[in-house]
Symmetry: C2
Subunit: 329 residues, 2 copies
C-alpha cells in the first residue's frame, strides 16, 4: 500500500508536509505543493481513510440510519433515493459513510447504541423515518453526543437539525389542487400513524383547507397502511366526495378499493412515488425529491460537524399528477 511516506520520499519532503498539502493547510509554498501533488498523482495515492479517521477524531464518519427494507415497493423507492443522495453527497464532502438500520438497535440500550457508534468513530448521524417508537434513538439525540440530522422529524437542539418540507402547507396544497377540478362538499382524510411526527402537521393542513373552503371533514387514522386505507374506503369511501390520504400507499389502497366497488372519487396522496403511475391516472400527490433531501441532510450533517448549530431546513415539493406515461422508461 502506498502511504504518505512514499509520497513524501518521492516529493523529497517530510510526511507532515504531505499531510498539510492533503488537508489544505495555509503555510505551504506553491512550489512544495506542486511537488507533492505531482508525487501523489504519479503514485496514485489516496489517503487511507481509516488511518485518517483514527488520527484526527474529527475526520467525520457519518452514519445513515433508516428502516430496513420493508419489501414494500414505495418505501424501498424512497429509501434507495435517500441512500443514494446521502452517500453521493458524503463522497463529495469527503465524509466516510456507514449505513445502519433501526433493527440493529432494537434490543440495545442507549448506552450500548452510543458505544457502538463511537466504536465506529461516528460523529454525525443522518436519520430517516424516525418515529416516536424509536425511544432510545430519541434519547440519544437529546444527549447531543452526536451531530444528528433528522429527515421528517422535528427535533432540534444545538447539535440536531431537522430537514423536511412544510408538511401542513403541502397537504393543504395537494388537496386544494383536487378542488380545482372536482366539486367537493365532504372529504374523508386518512391520516398517518397516530403519533407520527408528520401526522399532526399534515392534519393541520387539511383542517385549514376544509375550513377555508367550507368542506365537511372526517379524519380517520390509516397508520400509513395501504391495507387499512383500503378497509376504511370499502367501509365508507362512497359517503364522501373526495378522499385525501397522508401517503401514496394509502391513496393506492383507497383507489384500489374504489375501483373494486366500481365507484369513483378523486383521491390524493403524499410522496410522489412511481407506483402511483401504475395504479390510476386520477391521483394527485405531493412529489418530494428524496435524493435532493438526503443530499441536503448530508450537507447539514457536515455543517453541524464543523461547528454549526442545529436548525430547521425546509425542502421543496411540487404538486403533481402521475400518469403511466410519465413514469414509463
Amino acid at each position: 500500500m502506498v502511504s504518505i511516506k512514499d509520497v513524501a520520499k518521492k516529493a523529497g519532503v517530510a510526511a507532515s508536509t504531505v499531510s498539510k498539502v492533503l488537508n489544505n493547510y495555509p503555510n505551504v509554498s506553491a512550489e512544495t505543493r506542486k511537488k507533492v501533488n505531482d508525487a501523489i498523482s504519479e503514485l496514485n495515492f489516496v489517503p487511507n481513510a481509516v488511518a485518517s479517521a483514527l488520527s484526527s477524531k474529527q475526520a467525520g464518519r457519518v452514519a445513515i440510519l433508516m428502516n430496513q427494507s420493508s419489501q414494500t415497493t414505495s418505501i424501498d423507492e424512497v429509501d434507495m433515493q435517500y441512500i443514494s443522495g446521502a452517500i453521493l453527497k458524503a463522497r463529495e464532502l469527503g465524509l466516510d459513510v456507514i449505513t445502519i438500520f433501526f433493527s440493529m438497535f432494537e434490543d440495545k440500550s442507549v448506552d450500548e447504541i452510543s458505544a457502538y457508534l463511537r466504536s465506529q468513530s461516528i460523529t454525525g448521524i443522518v436519520i430517516f423515518g424516525l418515529s416516536r417508537e424509536n425511544a432510545n434513538i430519541i434519547k440519544l439525540i437529546n444527549r447531543e453526543e452526536f451531530k444528528c440530522v433528522l429527515v421528517d422529524a422535528p427535533l432540534i437542539n444545538k447539535s440536531t437539525s431537522c430537514v423536511w418540507a412544510d408538511q401542513a402547507k403541502a397537504q393543504y396544497d395537494v388537496a386544494n389542487e383536487v378542488l380545482k377540478t372536482d366539486p367537493v362538499k365532504s372529504m374523508l382524510y386518512i391520516s398517518g400513524k397516530e403519533n407520527g411526527f408528520v401526522t399532526a402537521e399534515r392534519l393541520k393542513g387539511i383542517k385549514a383547507l376544509c375550513r377555508d373552503k367550507d368542506i365537511a371533514l372526517t379524519a380517520k387514522c390509516g397508520d400509513f397502511s395501504e391495507k387499512k386505507a383500503r378497509e376504511i374506503t370499502l367501509e365508507c369511501g362512497k359517503d364522501y366526495d373526495m378522499i385525501a390520504c397522508a401517503s401514496d400507499m394509502m391513496a393506492i389502497g383507497a383507489m384500489m378499493a374504489l375501483k373494486e366497488e366500481d365507484i369513483f372519487r378523486p383521491v390524493c396522496g403524499f410522496d410522489g412515488i412511481t407506483l402511483m403511475g401504475y395504479v390510476s391516472n386520477r391521483m394527485t400527490t405531493v412529489r418530494q425529491n428524496f435524493f435532493e433531501i438526503a443530499s441536503k441532510a448530508m450537507e447539514e450533517a457536515e455543517n453541524l460537524i464543523s461547528g454549526g448549530l442545529g436548525r430547521e431546513i425546509h425542502t421543496d415539493y411540487e404538486i403533481v399528477r402521475l400518469d403511466y406515461k410519465d413514469i414509463l422508461r
Copy 2:
C-alpha cells in the same frame, strides 16, 4: 471514549491481554478472561473498529458495489433488499461495510479504483448488477487484488465467487408454468440486454423449453426496458400466443400494452417484484429472495477473505403468481 486501556486498568491486566480476550486467542486463563469480560461490560466497552482495521490489515472491510437508485420502483426494491441482506449479515459476521455505486467510478482508471478501495482498507467487494459495460471493474476483478463476490455475473477465479440462481432452468420453469394453463403454439420472448451476463443463460432456457414443447419461438431484445417491451408488444404482441419476458419490468410493459390494445395474452416475467401485484393478476414470474441472496453473498465474501477459493453458488427461486391480495399489507 473508553478504550482498551481503560478496560485493562479496570481489570488489572495489560492492554494486549484485553485484545487477546476480544479476539478469542487461545492462551488466556479462564480467570483473566472473566475479569476482562466483566470490565468490558461494566464500562460498556466496544472495540474501536477503525483502530482495529488500521492495526490488523486483515480486519476485513467489505464494500457493497451496486447501481445507484434508478428511480425505478422495481430496481429499487431489489437493491434495497440487497443492501439490507448484505449489511445485516455483515454485522453478524463482524465485518465493516461501506456502500458505493458504480457511478462513483465512472471516469476512474482501474488503478484509481484500486487505490481508492485500498485507501478504504477494503479487502472484499460484493458486487450487484455488474454488466459488461463496467469494463474497469471487470479488470479489477481479474487482477484478483480484492476478494470479490458477484451476484448474477459468472466470473470466477481464485478470489472471485459468483452467486446466482440457475438462470436457464428458472426461465424454463416459469414459462413452462404458463403452458400448464394456456395452450401455446407460438411464443414471443423479450430478452434482456444484448450482452448481459444473464441474458444468454435465460435465452438458453427458453429455447430449451420451446424445443421440448414444440413451440415456435421468436426472440427480440428488450434491453430490460419497460418502454421497449411495451413497444415491441404494441408492434407484434398479438401475433403470438404468449409473451415471456426476461424481467418483470418488461413483463409489465408488455402487459400494459396488451391492456391498451384490449387483447389478452399470458405474460410471464422474472424477479418477483411487488409491482407485479398491482398491474395484473395474470402474470407468472420467478421470485427470488434478494435479501437471502445478498446474505449468502456476504457470507461468501467472508469465506473468501478467510482464505476460501472462488466458486459458484446457486441460489433458490420459486415460480409464483403475484396478485394484489398477496402483496397488500
